[in-house]
């Protein structure tokens, strides 16, 4: 368990605000220990710092009331979606009120003709896609968990579809936000943004709840592709697989998903799911398009793969067969946990220019040996992002220290390659030390923006920026 920094608590303010909110919200404000701990951070990597209370608003006006009460008494406000973030984003290092958006879970409008929709933050991505399916539309951002749209917006989430559809930054059109003083603003209209003021929408996307609380989201939607095809292919080395990826992208094959499993990962999946994949790096791809296009793309990739030593190339557009081909990816998480029973997973999240990906993965593997750690590597290789999942015995202090060392060293390697310490998980509490290392002077601007928006630092304090800032 990694200790998280604590911040000074404003006991009087918290007590006063709690009294006001209890009176106002009754049973919709909870202070039981277990519910508070559920709303603090739940991963085993960073210790749990529960809030003082959890409140469940049902509309924007209520959110505004909550924030006004907290602002008046300088009490921290921690926005909460479904709690699937990985870097301590929902911990309460100074105590305060967790605002659970779960009861604001309505899909307010779907404008099929404008390819957009308006949702409340508690809507989950699976709920949204189920709702959209019979209109021939879908929302493509798919982080591993069934996250809430509000949380995904606040953390600028991405997923396996990012190669083709981008991340949350590319798919949020407008936001309604309650500002740190309780004021309700709209960052933009449904019309496309062009030169009427700064892009406040994208300033809010990825701000991790530190600038305001998102209460409504307008999202860009996409038509469900006519056809999908899936392919997989083994390569003699990670480098060969990366070269094939680069050639595919450069050739202009519009890949939707492109995932890489390293040899250790393939072994783990074989053992867990009783598969017989060649135990060498495996590339899995998915193509979206027309029936003819998805087939052509898979074929074209097959030819390119061969040039780079690819073997065992298979592709299909049949839905059941597609699931079989991608089984290794779908079972990956469970296979990881089973490969060292009793251990906990710690995921790194570096992202580098794709030309450096093979080098970076090679270094990541060497460092596992150097530090005597067990880890598996899976990558969203189309955008240069990969995760080492370290399997760590949390009761072994020395091993935990080596895991921390690994994360730090890998972040430094990526930053030295013009990369970033986090491609999709975010800064939260866990990665704050690396932000300054990576960005230098730009963090001063972030601190200045934070101060301008939230002078009393009540919105999700202790996240993104260092406490000294």
């Amino acid at each position: 368990m990694v200790k998280a920094a604590t911040l000074p608590r404003n006991e009087t303010g918290i007590e006063t605000a709690l009294g006001i909110l209890k009176q106002r919200f009754g049973d919709r404000l909870q202070t039981g220990k277990s519910i508070r701990e559920q709303h603090g951070h739940t991963t085993t990597w960073i210790e749990n710092q529960p809030p003082d209370a959890v409140v469940f608003p049902q509309n924007t006006a209520e959110v505004s009331e909550i924030i006004k009460a907290c602002a008046a008494h300088k009490v921290p406000v921690i926005p909460f979606g479904v709690g699937t973030s990985l870097e301590g984003h929902v911990n309460a290092p100074a105590g305060g009120i967790s605002v659970d958006m779960g009861q604001m879970d309505q899909i307010l409008a779907v404008h099929a003709e404008d390819l957009d929709c308006v949702v409340q933050p508690g809507v989950t991505r699976e709920q949204l896609n189920t709702h959209l399916r019979d209109q021939g539309l879908f929302f493509p951002i798919d982080p591993g968990a069934n996250a809430s749209i509000g949380g995904m917006t606040a953390t600028r989430a991405s997923g396996t579809n990012a190669v083709r559809y981008g991340t949350m930054k590319d798919n949020v059109i407008a936001l309604e936000v309650v500002m740190p003083n309780g004021e309700i603003i709209r960052t933009a209209q449904r019309a496309k943004k062009s030169s009427a003021g700064y892009d406040l929408t994208r300033l809010m996307v990825g701000s991790e709840g530190t600038l305001g609380l998102i209460t409504e989201i307008t999202l860009r939607l996409h038509g469900i592709p006519e056809a999908m095809s899936s392919a997989c292919c083994s390569f003699p080395s990670v480098d060969a697989a990366c070269q094939a990826v680069i050639a595919t992208i450069q050739y202009g094959i519009p890949v939707a998903r492109m995932e890489l499993l390293d040899t250790a990962s393939v072994k783990a999946v074989n053992a867990y799911a009783k598969l017989t994949l060649t135990e060498s790096p495996l590339l899995m791809l998915e193509f979206h398009g027309t029936k003819a296009g998805a087939a052509e793309q898979a074929d074209a990739f097959g030819e390119l793969a061969e040039d780079f030593g690819g073997t065992g190339f298979e592709w299909t557009s049949n839905a059941e067969e597609r699931n079989r081909l991608w089984k290794a990816r779908h079972e990956y998480y469970w296979a990881t946990l089973q490969s060292r029973p009793g251990a906990s997973g710690i995921a790194t999240d570096v992202c580098v220019p794709i030309s450096r990906l093979a080098d970076c993965v090679a270094r990541a593997n060497e460092m596992l040996e150097e530090l005597g750690l067990v880890g598996l590597i899976v990558g969203h290789v189309g955008d240069g992002n990969f995760h080492t999942t370290l399997l760590v015995d949390m009761d072994d202090a020395d091993e935990l220290a080596r895991a921390e060392e690994y994360v730090g060293r890998l972040n430094d390697v990526a930053i030295a390659m013009d990369g970033t310490c986090t491609g999709e998980h975010g800064i939260g509490q866990g990665k704050r030390p690396y932000l300054t290392k990576e960005l230098g002077g730009a963090t001063r601007y972030m601190a200045a923006i934070k101060t301008a928006f939230d002078p009393d630092n009540i919105m999700n304090p202790g996240k993104i920026l260092s406490d000294e800032a």
Binding site: E183, G197, S355
Partner: protein, 378 residues
């Protein structure tokens, strides 16, 4: 005129200045403001280009034409299809990549590929105190704090002087076909464009040119067999809207979209030109309220170009419409009187002013631009 040749010179000049500065790239996009010109064309050259990583990094003053030709040699392009304003505004000079980013200039392909800001991976800029700042870089995605990169895109030089930009590029498409539907009214045109965009056939342009021909134009791009297939399926899908023809010659098709991108129809017509961003489904109703002498609809109706009599206050004429109206071509006097950009609600104006004060505490960059008149220079 200040003409730095490096980022460090740029920083020194800004730190040493005491008066207002007007940041200028190629000077082709119609900004005229009071103050000393800070000309960035000396910061020029492609600094890094790796076709395999789909990334180009260039000094902000690099001519757009140079970037485009470097990319074309590797069969790549800027997918957001930036407009050339010279024909419409009668300006001369060389558009620069920094100007494209500062004005977030995007063309017809925005509906499919995204806007300029969506391709901006990183920036270097000098703030109002003369400090050089870097944000973002060469990676395709990051979640390292607030997205300053996107804030700088479309900020028209009011937050900082860009010194370098890093952009994601994409392969050029092998070929393209334009479908035309003739003789339709604006309601039918918007319905047809919406049906095309909502289809799985990957439309990369949807425009409507009212007038003699009343023609809807739909573009598909990609590899030859796929383009032919999609054009044919789209023709089936759209045939009930009107008579459909196809332009198969890729060069002729490309010329159609360059003309739409640069609003060629208004190059030689007199009058002011406005650009309205609306929800596509609102386009028919809003366009009627404009009482314009000329109209062109891009982005499936989401962008309306309107030509009106000189000096017209179009915002006052149409009232609230759920979008924003930008004054693109008019006399300096009209631009000053009406403001180029749609005024924002006061809450957003206050936030914007707060941001601007952080980036440019002395208030020296492009005064009067993107500012409520009460706060501005006039």
């Amino acid at each position: 005129m200040l003409s730095p040749n490096s980022e460090s010179e740029l920083a020194e000049m800004i730190a040493a200045t005491s008066g207002d500065l007007v940041i200028r790239g190629g000077g082709t996009r119609g900004v005229s403001l009071p103050g000393a010109e800070l000309n960035l064309s000396g910061l020029s050259g492609v600094e890094f280009y790796e076709p395999g990583s789909l990334t180009i990094v260039a000094a902000a003053g690099t001519p757009l034409a140079e970037i485009e030709s470097v990319l074309a040699a590797e069969n790549q392009r800027l997918a957001f299809e930036p407009m050339d304003h010279r024909g419409l505004l009668g300006t001369t000079g060389e558009p620069t990549i920094g100007g494209v980013v500062a004005a977030n200039v995007s063309g017809p392909r925005r509906i499919q590929a995204g806007a300029c800001r969506d391709f901006l991976l990183g920036v270097r800029f000098v703030d109002g105190a003369g400090a050089a700042i870097k944000n973002g870089g060469r990676v395709m995605k990051n979640v390292t704090g607030y997205d300053l990169v996107k804030l700088l895109a479309g900020s028209w030089g009011t937050l900082g002087a860009l010194s370098q930009v890093s952009l994601k590029v994409l392969p050029r498409s092998e070929t393209q076909i334009t479908l035309k539907i003739r003789g339709v009214d604006v309601q039918t045109a918007v319905a047809a464009m919406s049906a095309a965009l909502g289809s799985p056939f990957e439309v990369s342009g949807a425009a409507f040119c009212p007038g003699e021909d009343d023609t809807v134009m739909i573009r598909v791009e990609g590899f030859e067999p796929s383009v032919a297939y999609r054009a044919s399926r789209l023709s089936d899908l759209l045939m009930h809207f009107g008579e459909i023809s196809q332009t198969h010659d890729a060069e002729k098709s490309a010329a159609i979209w360059t003309a739409i991108r640069d609003v060629n129809d208004f190059h030689s017509t007199p009058g002011d030109v406005w650009r309205l961003s609306v929800k596509p489904s609102d386009a028919p109703e809003v366009s009627q309220r404009l009482q314009a002498d000329g109209l062109l609809f891009d982005w499936a109706g989401g962008l309306i170009w309107a030509c009106v009599a000189e000096g017209t206050d179009l915002r006052a004429r149409i009232g609230s419409f759920g979008g924003h109206a930008t004054l693109v071509r008019a006399s300096a006097e009209t631009k000053q009187r009406l403001g180029m950009f749609e005024p924002q609600p006061s809450s957003l104006e206050a936030i914007s002013a707060g941001l601007r004060a952080q980036f440019d505490p002395r208030g020296i960059f492009n005064q009067g631009l993107m500012q409520a008149p009460a706060l501005g220079a006039f």
